[in-house]
Symmetry: C2
Subunit: 337 residues, 2 copies
């Protein structure tokens, strides 16, 4: 796997007003930008994920074939590759890393797209979960630059229930005294494991476990094996402060929480002129379809198309072939249009 | 409020084979047992609840009027009133309290009903959540003693997903080093608060928070206010080891996990001859209606009647008048039959 590229943005004034020095945006590209610079697609990363974990979307024979498209995958701030608590120098290291919003993320991604690549219009922005949230931000903040979007298993604004779910996993992590307010010497393993175990109940659906997909497909052997074998590796691979930085971005995600829209969520949705296929997981427990239905009703060119899946939020993880095919078909449709 | 009665059972051989010395079953009764001893109703308690918290079901003008019925409310083992980690002497105190099952609970309740009151048949058993699980146990273990049941927001067997949700809240509590494996000097407050915050996301539905019922009806002021004002008082009122003892009973609830049925869940369901109205909360996140649908299809005399509520699991808490009226109507129907 190729190492990621690094876009050195330098000192950056964040939405909060704080200046974060020496900001780096990590990213990876797939395929070749054509001469007209009109074959670019952007796929933001998800919570706890890094660019390599989006690559299941880019296989040969799929809609996003690198033969046809120039695909940019920017790493989210806080994911350990772009500027993050774990890789930022004092005085902004660890728990002192400032709060960054998805607005901040997408503004930096915009600089990457325009300054480094000279791209004026993205053919598609698509992403899962927090990647979907960044997708919505792209379409609301730069409506004239985005031809189409496919947010899957994510929302334009984090719902109050979703916020509460996140507050729970955060509390589980911070209950470990070894976290030491973020100034830990070694990873707070007990807290990270509690975080993973709490998260596990939310990431898939009740029906997923009723039908024992964890046993039959994932081969975990038991509920405990599922937590230790599937969830813990995903989160223990990340730094605790990084997880909490991204969690803050998630909790506070809102396409209208900025000067453009002044908190008028309906107006921000109405500004999304991109052709949109919005793909909630039908059984997603924290990004349920109802939140997307509200959004789609206020977007001028959008269709709601729930993924008929029992994989819950993880319908968009790329692990279930039927779900992947469903998402891929929507991407193909948007790219053909 | 009257003090509870105490039924001194003495040394009790548990389902595990262990003998727990000096077992006490706490209970409260409402109304008067008639001469024929045929007006008895039993209402078991729920997770973290005590008998007083079921009293919303027994108001004048409701189906379970104490004018008409003799209502017995036995406290669940582990709830701090019946034998529990917090009130049992060494060597079975605190984390050394043995695992007890709902089978153990219902067998003790059976002794209370038959030995203390000489009751041969219960007109109705009804309960919420773990109270519903005990209700199912009554009907499966003593089919000839139970005329009717109304389990609401609970199941005959804890689902794998429900088990995982519980594993999460348990991990959040135990992530607090002050828990000290159950041998804490003072309550592990950080862990209990994390437990409460994780639990909060599960107890109500996504729609409950989308429609801001927490603000409009419960007056919590914010998500954080909801956690600290509603959830924490409920759980911080309990002992941590008590919470974990009941949690174990919940995780391992299964009406067929005993010598009568040898793990044959369908056979145990088929043995429930009581007239049953099974009332899941339509939006319950950990006792979803699908689990009850499976059960009802295998019960000879049962009807599935979801509570059309956005209160999630807490449709059965007695806090929302419409839900309470819906449950009460079912109880009235069963008691009239």
């Amino acid at each position: 796997m190729a190492a990621p590229e690094r876009f050195q943005v330098g000192d950056t004034v964040l939405q909060s007003g704080m200046t974060l020095p020496g900001v780096t945006l990590s990213y990876r590209t797939h395929g070749v930008l054509n001469a007209a610079r009109d074959n670019a697609v952007l796929v933001p990363t998800y919570y706890g994920g890094q660019h390599a974990q989006t690559e299941w979307l880019f296989a040969e024979g799929m809609a996003l074939s690198p033969r046809d498209w120039f695909i940019i995958v920017p790493d989210m701030l806080g994911n350990g590759l772009s500027s993050s608590p774990s890789n930022t120098a004092a005085p902004f290291d660890g728990p002192r890393f400032p709060h960054v919003t998805l607005y901040d993320n997408v503004r930096l991604q915009h600089r990457l797209v325009t300054e480094r690549f000279g791209i004026e219009r993205l053919r598609l922005v698509a992403g899962w979960s927090m990647g979907a949230q960044q997708t919505y931000h792209w379409a609301a903040l730069y409506p004239h630059m985005v031809a189409a979007i496919a947010p899957f298993c994510g929302s334009a604004r984090t719902s109050r229930h979703n916020f509460l779910f996140l507050d729970g996993v955060k509390a589980a992590l911070q209950a470990d005294a070894a976290f030491r307010g973020g100034d830990y010497d070694a990873p707070p393993l007990v807290g990270l494991k509690a975080f993973s175990r709490v998260y596990a109940g939310w990431a898939f659906s009740q029906t997923f476990f009723r039908e024992e997909i964890d046993l039959k497909v994932m081969g975990s052997g038991s509920i405990d094996g599922f937590v230790t074998g599937v969830m813990e590796p995903a989160f223990l691979a990340r730094d605790a402060n990084d997880l909490l930085a991204m969690l803050w971005s998630w909790q506070n995600a809102d396409i209208s929480a900025n000067d453009l829209y002044g908190g008028d969520f309906d107006r921000a949705l109405g500004a999304i002129t991109a052709r949109a296929i919005v793909l909630p997981g039908a059984t997603d427990l924290y990004f349920p379809p109802e939140d997307n239905a509200y959004e789609v009703a206020r977007m001028p060119n959008a269709e709601l198309r729930p993924i008929p899946s029992i994989w819950g939020h993880c319908a968009g993880l790329g692990a279930n072939p039927a779900d992947t095919a469903f998402i891929d078909a929507a991407l193909r449709e948007l790219l053909a249009g």
